[in-house]
Symmetry: D3
Subunit: 158 residues, 6 copies
């Protein structure tokens, strides 16, 4: 955990480093325990060292869905290292905006900002989304991003 804080600093100061350089998980995790641990580490990496509230809320009533999110989505998929985290986050934000899934899009847009993506880059994804998915999904995504940007600014001030 100490080393995690240390590594976080380099992200905050150095911008978009590649996850695989930060995380010692390039060895294939093969047990569910190791996959979940990799997912948990990934989420802390993406979420400024903190757990993800939605995920924690699922653990009691939907333990399998929580495990699948952690071990499969965040561990197996997000833990891969061919794409850097910035590109994967931008592509995930694009996919979720295109599908109209603004709630999780916003979560991943926050992760993107945490790993060095700029607000301007996220806005570009929203502009681009008008082409594959039309204006209603792009406008909904722009409103979700505006709220996210606003909350982050007010939480920095406090």
């Amino acid at each position: 955990m100490l080393s995690f804080s240390t590594r976080r600093k380099s992200v905050l100061t150095g911008g978009a480093l590649i996850a695989s350089a930060l995380l010692p998980f390039t060895v294939q995790a093969t047990t569910t325990e190791a996959r979940s641990a990799r997912g948990a580490e990934m989420i802390r990496h993406l979420n400024n060292g903190e757990a993800q509230p939605n995920l924690e809320a699922m653990r009691e009533e939907f333990p399998f869905l929580a495990e699948a999110t952690e071990a499969y989505a965040l561990g197996d998929v997000w833990g891969r290292d061919v794409l850097d985290n910035r590109t994967r986050q931008l592509a995930a934000v694009a996919a979720m905006a295109a599908l109209g899934e603004t709630g999780l899009m916003r979560v991943h847009a926050g992760y993107a900002l945490n790993v060095g993506v700029t607000e301007e880059e996220l806005k570009e994804i929203v502009y681009m989304i008008t082409v594959p998915a039309g204006f209603p999904r792009a406008i909904a995504a722009s409103q979700a991003l505006s709220e996210l940007f606003s909350e982050r600014r007010s939480s920095v001030v406090e």
Copy 2:
């Protein structure tokens, strides 16, 4: 136009250069003619110097849709320079795969390869798509990519 051929070579040899470095269009195009010209240049940049057959086929019966594709989608949106072309193509491929639009996804995956994206990176987008959009869309995208890769390999041999 001569300079275009020259610039293409650097793309083919040098890999994933950022579009805004290649294209002198950072000045806002403000007439429909200039926007269409920018879109046409962009498509040649993405498509190895050639016109896009689907777009040309629309010009006679659907002239407004062809113009909108060229001037708005490719000129206004793809001509922006905050994101580099590689990232925009990967995000567009992700959005189209998520929506099940495998036909245009394949076109943009081809553009992505032309501007230096690797096959491995495109595969990563497909893996990632299982998370926001599920397995049927990811599997359909993988089949479209397999066909694209195969065609490009056989056309190189000839």
Copy 3:
């Protein structure tokens, strides 16, 4: 049936007449038999006096789905008279194009042409679809319309 042929002529020569003026079904059909009959009449009205092949093909293996299509979709819904047939067909084409359902969109675009909608009006729907649903769905719809227009022209020549 004789009166049907007579009425068809007025459609072919007189353009977009309102269905409720043509069809004596403004009295609410209340039995399944009457609703199906109204649907069958509607389909002949929309389809140049002929049965709809897809519907007929469903009758043996999917009799309930065939009945629901005939009695509910075509009888109850298409048989209503607040909107004229042209407007309903254009709105149905828009909805199906937006959803990517190009197969049934093409069927309804053919109906639209049969009740006096012009090719130019159908193209406008496709242009408009770029706004709510993006370019891939609009382009797919344009390709389906091109095929439809081409087939109808060659069948007229013969």
Copy 4:
């Protein structure tokens, strides 16, 4: 109606009985009045003997949509007897969760619980939905189910 109350008890005490065993509607309803009556009976069967508030709210401003929901969706479709009510509800919950229609999914999940489906079985549908439709839709469905479970528990206590 008296017999309805009697039959309800067997559902509440006996768990997941098959609707067709409960409802004397296997004879095809052929008038709109009979179809609507069958739908109204079905909704009381699914909704603990009470009317469905959303449906009642539509009756004044959208009378045809209310009638279609009652006579077609609940009467014709839900009144069929090849599938038992439990399986149909689980399949309907799966379809609505996959489409992101969490509002009506929650209504049908409530019906499912009323005819003897367990909370664990509904959770399994949500887990399964990650495969055809991805994690955002599954997570949204899990949140809607959590709210439903919580409300039903607090209303039992009162």
Copy 5:
């Protein structure tokens, strides 16, 4: 601008006039400035002479998306004159309802009422949507329309 107010009156009193008869924009707008001006005029035409709040809210943080909405969606697409405004609005409402985009659907339903579409015609679109898109999307659209109708009635009273 003076002439705009004058023309608005004829819309409010005279019902569903065709946009192309009102707007002197049939000459192709070819600069972004002229396209944006045409879009701004169109929005005032559709919105009782007032700006559109969502659009204005986007201008600061998402200037390109605001420009694309104004110049492309409202200027280029809505400014076309093959379809009259009533038909285009009904088709747009159908497409947005089918996609589940009830927020923008409601905006366009308001525009439709402003250019002379009746509440009954909008309800017909919603009934029809059960066929291409199913009951959950139609019911959600009916609820959005009910709210819109109710707000407009209470604002007229005041």
Copy 6:
């Protein structure tokens, strides 16, 4: 493998047995190897003892997607035992039909038939799909099922 053939017989003769009674995998598989083995066993159980061609085709070019399909989708999700295989297959068919994913829907409809679901039950799912997802998706699903039924009949004859 011998015991697998033995167990298959009981399925073919005895109808819809619950998977957990057939498969000795109720113990949680915790390594990727064990999860993949469970998925492979599940696919043979669902597919009459044979491998799934689409899955095998993915192994070379998309090894991670093949592994995720086998270990996550078929091992972790399909290997759960709260729902019996028949109910899970019917719900999966409903979800895929609702999403318009007729290709994989057909694969899972074939699995459903292999574990004792009847053709009539699959048709009921398709009828039901008109309610949550509309007629185009239901009709497309009916056509895919017709093809599947026809192929299976002709392969039995040979």
